[in-house]
Symmetry: C2
Subunit: 136 residues, 2 copies
């Protein structure tokens, strides 16, 4: 599937999500793991589009989400820092999702500096996360 | 808002719908009105995108759908035949929505020939409608 950058931006403006997971994890220093992820969900009839995204970005996985919904998902700092973030810096989102992208990028960069390994930095990440994906 | 054709196709692949309404209407010859419409829905925080679509196509209206959801909607044969349909013929959708678009176009063309004013034609339109917007 031959995808075009602008088509991809439009599709992500519709179906994409920049999400920061903060999960309990006793193995981590502060007892929590911070997990930034970029996802695009789609009904399984169009899963070939999700594989098209995977090919386009050269990273990520396609997984079952729930029921008949599939999900393209990118985790991992190097993929986010070198592939996903530069793409959306070059090709700006047109909906308010752009604001979530900017907050997402801020968290990924804070983590690059190790902020999630110290209480103060983790608190800052929580604050940013709480301001994301709000519709008001 | 400066929209690009490929962005728009990607966004419609995510958020758009080609729909054939068949509504009771005693004023019509067969007691029903066939109403094809192209819609794109979006949370109200991004209604400026819907106005961007309206500007781009030079037709249609932005209306409240339900709750905080807004809708860009195009009805009217001339708008569909001269603006919406030619756009998606030139710029192909990449999801299965393309199949719905082809069926939608078939109905609009059947109506152009007056098919909806005769029982047999109306039955054919019903059959096509029943095969649209299915996820299987």
């Amino acid at each position: 599937m031959d995808l075009n950058a602008q088509w991809l931006v439009g599709f992500v403006d519709g179906e994409g999500c920049f999400h920061i997971g903060i999960n309990q994890n006793k193995e981590m220093k502060l007892g929590v793991q911070v997990l930034p992820e970029f996802t695009v969900t789609q009904h399984q009839v169009d899963e070939q589009v999700l594989y098209g995204l995977k090919d386009y970005f050269g990273c990520g996985v396609v997984r079952k989400n729930h029921g008949k919904i599939k999900c393209y998902r990118v985790r991992g700092h190097q993929n986010l820092l070198t592939k996903i973030i530069p793409f959306f810096e070059k090709h700006q989102l047109k909906t308010k999702k752009r604001i979530d992208f900017v907050k997402f990028r801020r968290v990924v960069r804070l983590m690059e500096d190790g902020a999630h390994l110290e209480s103060e930095g983790l608190e800052r990440i929580r604050e940013i996360k709480n301001q994301m994906n709000l519709k008001n």
